[in-house]
């Protein structure tokens, strides 16, 4: 068995698959079978932003697989100490909810989601609680510092893609690679070399040596990723201690071509400036006349108004002489308005036939040919 060079792309996938995760908590009733444990709920949202094929609300097979694997990795490995989330046994416990929103899908969403989820759980602080007999007081973050969750360990997922019936192996597959792979193996592991979750999907059979080899590769990767997470958490802690701004707003790198930044600016408005069209004391007639002054609303009668200049009606073919004269006058006065209305109703840009100009600068996809005095010919 040969493998293609390991695509060492932690940094790449942290950039390519930008994720976002939120942890929130609330006090709920505990599950009946586990009266002294808190509840952990993981929700993965495949946002339509991530890929055109994801639909809002509808959980595809991929989404179900993703959330199930992540749940297994987090819940069944008991990484979060659920007993510490208990407030009153059998009556009140904390329910922790992890929301993962996927912003961009360029392959291997599972690895990225697991890093995001673990970082969020490690970063999360819940409100402090005091229990006096039956009375429970939840302190706000202003009264008492919030408490972090107690995490036993940090299980992270590593994905492997197999090609040609297991002959070739790729770590951390990208989107194109995922589409052509034969099968996939996911190992959930923590830095103490304990495997928390193992799953093999796809139509292939693997040898024992392959599985062992993959787990060795996974150890290396998990060590690196855990270090990255710890570093990021430390940085955040120190910048919070210094009082610097932190949060998503600061997470984007400052010096990039496609990033623009503007300082806070002062805005001066003329004090007491009144917008002329409104005034406090109005009667109905005043309102109507004021509105018609603005030019666009014609009051035709009590309770009836028309907005906009009406165009010549095209429904009637028999015109009396008078009407024809009126129509003529109207036409002459407002030939531009009519044609522009027509234009707006039809196309804004009309494709014209361009011959012989494709090989070189085929920049002109659609051309509109106009006269200099810019009058559109009636169509």
């Amino acid at each position: 068995m040969r493998d293609t060079p390991l695509s060492n792309c932690e940094r790449e996938f942290l950039l390519d698959i930008i994720k976002e995760r939120k942890v929130s908590c609330e006090v709920t009733l505990p599950k009946l079978r586990r009266p002294t444990e808190g509840i952990l709920f993981v929700n993965v949202e495949l946002s339509p932003m991530a890929s055109a094929s994801f639909e809002q609300g509808r959980l595809t097979e991929e989404g179900v697989e993703l959330s199930r694997l992540l749940e297994r990795c987090l819940k069944e490995s008991h990484c979060v100490d659920l007993e510490s989330l208990c407030i009153i046994a059998g009556a009140k416990v904390w329910s922790i909810r992890v929301d993962i929103h996927i912003l961009n899908h360029d392959g291997n969403m599972l690895d990225c989601s697991s890093i995001a989820a673990i970082s969020a759980l490690a970063h999360f602080r819940r409100p402090d609680v005091t229990v006096k007999g039956e009375e429970v007081t939840i302190h706000t973050s202003e009264e008492r510092d919030p408490i972090p969750l107690s995490l036993h360990h940090m299980p992270l997922c590593v994905s492997f893609a197999f090609f040609h019936q297991g002959k070739y192996l790729l770590v951390d597959p990208g989107e194109l690679e995922e589409r052509v792979m034969d099968g996939k193996m996911v190992i959930g592991m923590n830095k103490h070399r304990e495997i928390c979750m193992l799953q093999i999907t796809g139509q292939m059979l693997l040898l024992k040596e392959q599985v062992l080899r993959c787990s060795n590769i996974a150890v290396v990767k998990v060590m690196e990723m855990t270090e990255l997470i710890q570093e990021a958490l430390l940085n955040d802690k120190s910048s919070r201690a210094k009082g610097l701004k932190c949060g998503f707003a600061e997470s984007a790198t400052k010096r990039k071509v496609n990033r623009t930044w503007k300082e806070a600016m002062d805005v001066n408005s003329v004090p007491g400036c009144e917008v002329p069209s409104d005034s406090d004391s109005e009667s109905d007639e005043d309102v109507e006349s004021k509105i018609s002054e603005r030019g666009d609303v014609n009051v035709l009668g009590h309770g009836v108004g028309a907005i906009g200049k009406s165009a010549v009606s095209k429904w009637f073919e028999e015109n009396t002489d008078d009407m024809e004269k009126e129509l003529e006058e109207e036409r002459n006065k407002s030939v531009h308005t009519n044609s522009s209305q027509q234009e707006k109703a039809m196309t804004a840009v009309m494709p014209a036939d361009i011959s012989g100009d494709h090989e070189g600068d085929s920049e002109e996809e659609a051309i509109q040919i106009l006269d200099k005095d810019l009058k559109l010919q009636p169509m």
Partner: protein, 248 residues
């Protein structure tokens, strides 16, 4: 883009107007005064509204002698235009026509008779998943686009199914136009260093094939990287690429 030798006021104004970033909703009526001839041709990104020339897309305003203006924007989604050559992927066979994905909002249709030498008895060998290099016969906003693989005289002139491997790269539309521009040295320079075959579709798809897979990947990466490079930088890149490949 360059202008006539002598600088009259109209040319100076045009120079200042062009190469400027414009935003949708801006009115550029100064164009009316600048043109020498009596007609102005408004290209993509500009439209006429009530006697004002309005910008519809964000981008850089460009000018070409004698009287053509348009906006160069950066776009990845293709909007079909009649007469352009594109690379499509066959997705379905429905009776006598194929449905081709050209990257737009709708799939195009390709009749099996639109290949060179195809008759009712002699059907072309096209399967689902094949890539075809074709030309848009019908492309307007109201109708489903239609593509063909033959020209007006019934000859294929380079169009048809693309076989024998290679790799399809997806890029932005402006990169494709840049590559096809006579001023750009990418194709020539790259071709001198690494011989390769390429088909460039105006829908942002480029098919490349070189002698080996490694070279194919190198060519594909070179094309993707050249989006924001000047000609000088492109030449340097091609040189470095050739050196790197020789070193392997």
């Amino acid at each position: 883009m360059w202008f006539a030798g002598f600088s009259s006021t109209s040319n100076m104004e045009t120079k200042q107007l062009a190469r400027r970033v414009v935003m949708p909703g801006e009115k550029i009526n100064a164009l009316k005064n600048c043109a020498d001839s009596s007609k102005i041709i408004l290209g993509p990104g500009l439209r006429l509204e009530d006697e004002d020339i309005c910008v519809a897309k964000s981008g850089i305003l460009r000018f070409r002698e004698p009287n053509v203006y348009w906006v160069d924007s950066h776009q990845t989604r293709y909007v079909p235009v009649k007469g352009e050559t594109v690379i499509g992927i066959i997705t379905q066979k429905v009776g006598d026509t194929f449905r081709v994905d050209i990257g737009g909002s709708e799939q195009a249709s390709l009749s099996f008779l639109s290949f060179e030498g195809a008759t009712k008895r002699n059907r072309p060998d096209v399967k689902v998943g094949d890539i075809v290099y074709c030309r848009l016969l019908v492309a307007n906003k109201d109708m489903e686009p239609e593509v063909v693989c033959i020209d007006g005289q019934g000859r294929s002139s380079g169009m048809g199914v693309i076989r024998n491997g290679g790799f399809l790269v997806r890029t932005s539309l402006s990169l494709v136009r840049k590559i096809l521009n006579a001023d750009c040295v990418l194709m020539k320079c790259l071709g001198n260093k690494i011989p390769f075959e390429a088909a460039v579709g105006m829908n942002g798809r480029v098919w490349v094939k070189a002698r080996s897979n490694k070279e194919t990947i190198a060519v594909a990466n070179a094309i993707l990287a050249s989006e924001y490079m000047t000609n000088e930088e492109i030449k340097n890149m091609c040189q470095r690429l050739a050196d790197a490949l020789d070193g392997f």
